[in-house]
Every structure is written in C-alpha cells, then in structure tokens.
Amino acid sequence: MSLNPDASRLIDLVEKQTGYRVTLGTTEGLATDAQMISASASHPAHLIDISTRSLAVADYVTAVQCVMLLTMWSHPRGVPQFEPIEERVDQAVREAAQSPRLAKYPKEAAAKTANSLVTGLLLQLRSTPSELIAMEYIRRECPSLHRQQSDTVNAVLRRNSQGLKPEVKEFAPAEILEKSLLLSAVVALLWGQISGSTAAMLPYKSIGLDTKAEELLADFRAVPGELGERSQAVVDAWAEKLQLLGLYLWTFRPK
C-alpha cells in the first residue's frame, strides 16, 4: 500500500490504540469525501471508504478518518454514539415544515425537506467539532499532508458556502439555515487562522455571522480535555447555544 507516510502512521496508531485493523477501500456516489464504519464485535475492522471523486486527496481524507477514529475511541466511557431522540426530532421537523418558507410547498414535499434539513443540521452539529479537531491535529502532526489539506478544506468550504445561494434561502427555514451557516462559519474561521487566508470567512462576514462564529470557536478552545471527551463536550456546548439540546442523547458502546 503506497500511502503517504503520515497517513500510514495514523493508520498504525488507530490499529494500535483500538486493537482493530483498518481496511481502506473506494466507493462511488458519496456526497462527502469518505464514509467510515467503526469496528465492533460483529464488524471486526474499521472500514474507510474513500469517494472515487476524492482520490486525488486520498491520503488526507484517510488521515482525517483516522483522527476521527482516534477521537471516538479515546473517550473513557466507550465509543460515543450520537443518537437523535425520534419524537423530539419529529416535533422539530413538524415545526420546520410549518415555517413560512416551507409552508408554501405541498405538505409532503415540505415535510421531506424539513426532515432532511433538521437531520442534516444535527449531523453537522455532531461532526463539526471532530472535523475541527482533525484539522488542527493534522496541521500539527502531519506536515507532508498540508497541501492536500488546503485542497480538501477549500473544497469543503466551497460546498458549505452553497448554503448562501439565493435558491437555498427560498425554501430553508431561516432559523435552521442560520444555524447551519454558523457551523460552517466556524470551520471557515478556524481554517483562516490556520492558513492565514481571509477569503474563507468572506461569505459569513457578508451576512454578519463572524462574531457568533468567533464565540463558538472560543467555546471550542475553552473546552478542556483531549479528542473524544473534548468533541462530545463541544457538541453539547454548541447545542446549548443553538437551542438544539434535548434533540439527541449520548450512549456509549463498549470498546
């Protein structure tokens, strides 16, 4: 396997710290750069599938997934599982479907869109802190991946900024859209600090989200602990600010 040495080192670290093998593969049709299945008793290996679209940055994508595995598996209580609470999420979906921007569409379409937006926001809440942890970790520990990191993060930021297109504002409830853009703004802000680029934050400054993004990033910095505990604590701190507490709970799978 001719992976970049930093990516290979992270794979070794995951295997050593978790006791499970890491298996790499490729897959088509993903909206993201990769999908990952963490090992369990019935799946005796960590599975990382890289999107065929992202093969040019496969080393960096692999490294990110490895840091996410290290994050998940470092929690002292077990492997954290973020579990949306069905009835509360359903309630949030119903409310979103009745918002002025969605209420003008047929009920079924509005409900489907509301569901996708609410669950998407929860996913973003869950994944953004570990994404930031991975971004900083790789910047610090993997110098040979800096170029691929720039390319990948820029592509992520491009995708995130699609939320600013006028057609999105047409249908996405204002409250959900703002929370989603705010989480994207935190990623842009941290990347700006790491890379020295000011361009990443331009879209979010233009809609006045820079101060709120700085507050969320300050929370990220203030939370003590390493990897897993830190990631969970940041999710909870942000959920409180974004009024998303109560929509999910944490359970822990034995390692």
């Binding site: 820029n154 491009r158 006028p166």
Partner: protein
C-alpha cells in the same frame, strides 16, 4: 516597481475561481467578494514564498506585483515548482512573466508548455513547444510533450510524428513509448500493445504504464496475461483513479471468465451456493451481517472466483470455501440486507433460481 519586482496582469475572467474556498455561484453574485478572494489568494501564495506583494483589480483586470525577498533570481525555479505541485493559477502567469524576460529559456518553454497543455490550452502549448524543439531539436522531453499536446488537440498524426521523433532520439524513453501506445491503440493496436509492453518494462514503477499495458492486453483478447498486470497496477497505489479503473477491468475479466466457463445460463454451482446461503441466513439471521461483512472485507484484496479450490476461511463461519462460494454468500447477504445494493458482481439469475427452489422463500 523597481527592477527586482515582478508584475503581471490578466483578465479576471481568466482566473480559475474553483481554486477559491467559496462556491462560484456565490462569488458571481458578489463582485466585491470575488475581488477580495482573488486578492487574498495571490497574497497568500506570495506570503508563502516571502517578500511583499500587491494585488489590485481594476476594470476587470487583475494586477499583481511582487518583490521577492531574494530578488527575482530563482523565479524560474519557483514557477516550475508551483506547476509541479499543480498550482497553475500562480505558476502559469509567473512563468509567462519569466519568459517575457528570457524569450528562449528551454526549461520555461517546456514546463509552461506542458502546464498549458494540462489546462487544455493546447494551441498556446503547441506554440511554445514548437519553439522549444526548433531551438533544441534534440530535446527528447520537448518532442514528447509536443506529441501529447497534439494528441490533446485531436491531431493524432502530428502527435504520432512528434512521439516517433522523440523515440528516434531516445529509444529507451518509457514515457514516449507509453504516449505513442495510447495513440496507436486506436489506429494500430498491435503496434500499440508492443509500445505499452516496452513502457511497462522501462517504467516498472509507473502505474499509468502498467495499467495501460494491462488494458491493452485485455483489448487484444489476452485476459489471462492482462489480469496479473492490472492487479500489479492496483497494488502500486490502490487509492488512485487509475487503480479504480483497473479494479473495474478486473471485475469484468472475472465476470466474463465465470460466465464463459458455464455459458450464459445461470451456473448450477453458484445457484447451490446461493441456496445454501439463503438457508444459512434464515436459520441463523445473526450471521447474515457478520458473514457478509467479513467476505466483503476479504474481497477487497480480490477473491479468485474462477478456481474451485477451497482456499478461503472465515472467522464468522467454520470450514473452507472457494471464491465463488464466498461471493455467492456475500451476494445473498447484501441483497437480503439491502435489495438495492450493488455487490459488484451479477449473480441475479443464480440468486433468483435459488429463491424459487428454496423452502424458506
């Protein structure tokens, strides 16, 4: 600007905005944001190289000025290094600026020509590369790059001529063999195959050459020889687009040989394996996921489905299995878990027949 500064300008529409961390549609609605983002891009690039930079954008033209810390000596190396790491947005204008000062610099002509060719600006690339080979008629890489640019410009005859010239100058140039082979595979496949063979021999660590040779063997009908070459090309770097294409080609070979062994009708052995998987998973549903997952993992390294040898074992199921048996189990498991899934091999006929005769259905 003093003599130690470098300046260049270009229309804003020439800038590749997909380089920026903002969606192009969002940028197009906000010209001020676009200007700031382009300015930030160049300032960031020059900051990394040291010195002071100024970027202004007026009347749709981007003007860049840079005073490097160590003067403009070494700009050529800077520009070439940028192109090698794929940074065309800065590398191309930088080298164009160098070329304006030193018209006949062969290294700049070659690297700029190749970069423009990569960017699809083949007319401009051909002009530069023709200047290069006129200046240096024995420049092997120049002829090679010119051949590639002609090929991209859809001029196969001119491409062939340039590549043959390159090979006359250096018959051991693997890249020229590889590039010529890819052109000849359309017009003279036997000669193309021979050039791919030589490229694979001369460039044993070049994934492109190994894959090209494997594919050429496959096209020539020699799938037995093609398969190990394709396998080797995957092993060289498994997470690349070339490896992905090689995997697809190998799946086709496996499927074809499996079918040719039993004709186009469903294979009785695979029907029986599917049937036994249906019965196993019905009796022990907890095994379905574990067995399917384990075979899928094992299959990532490639399962030999055309041998009847029972050479595989699983942790989740006792016994020894043949490749076809495992693939049949995986097919059934995946279809039972998610009927819309794609197991990567077509055993639909066998699965359907097994379902019809299974008492569990």
């Amino acid at each position: 600007m003093n003599s130690d500064s470098l300046t260049f300008n270009f229309p804003i529409s020439d800038f590749d905005i997909s380089k920026l961390p903002i969606d192009p549609a969002v940028l197009k609605q906000d010209p001020e944001m676009l200007r700031e983002a382009i300015s930030d891009y160049y300032l960031g690039e020059f900051r990394g190289m040291g010195g002071d930079a100024w970027v202004t954008i007026t009347d749709g033209v981007v003007n860049v000025a840079w005073v490097p810390v160590s003067g403009i000596d070494g700009l050529e190396e800077h520009g070439i290094a940028l192109l090698k790491r794929g940074d065309y947005a800065l590398g191309i204008p930088l080298l164009k600026s160098v070329l304006a000062r030193a018209l006949g610099n062969p290294d700049v002509l070659l690297n700029l020509g190749m970069a423009l060719s990569d960017q699809g600006k083949t007319g401009e690339a051909i002009d530069l590369l023709e200047r290069l080979v006129a200046l240096e008629p024995h420049n092997v890489r120049g002829w090679n790059a010119l051949g590639v640019a002609h090929s991209r410009n859809k001029a196969p005859e001119a491409a062939e001529e340039a590549l043959r010239r390159s090979l006359q100058l250096d018959p051991a140039d693997g890249y020229a063999h590889r590039n010529l082979a890819s052109i000849l595979m359309r017009s003279a496949p036997r000669e193309g195959l021979e050039h791919y063979r030589l490229a694979a021999e001369l460039l044993p660590d070049d994934q492109n050459s190994q894959f090209g040779y494997g594919l050429a063997l496959l096209k020539s009908g020699d799938s037995d020889s093609a398969d190990p070459v394709l396998k080797r090309s995957i092993e060289m770097a498994p997470l690349t687009e070339i490896a992905e294409m090689a995997r697809t080609a190998r799946r086709e070979i496996a499927q074809k040989s499996m079918r040719s062994a039993g004709g186009s009708a469903p294979r009785p052995d695979a029907i029986m394996y599917c049937l036994s998987a249906i019965q196993l998973f019905a009796a022990s549903p907890e095994l379905r996921k574990a067995v399917t997952f384990e075979i899928a993992l094992l299959g990532r390294g490639g399962l030999d489905i055309n041998s009847t040898d029972q050479k595989y074992s699983l942790k989740s199921l006792p016994g020894k299995f043949s490749g076809l048996q495992l693939v049949s189990y995986m097919y059934v498991g995946m279809k039972e878990l998610d009927p819309g899934s794609d197991p990567g091999i077509d055993l639909s006929g066998e699965y359907e027949q097994a379902r019809q005769i299974s008492p569990e259905q």
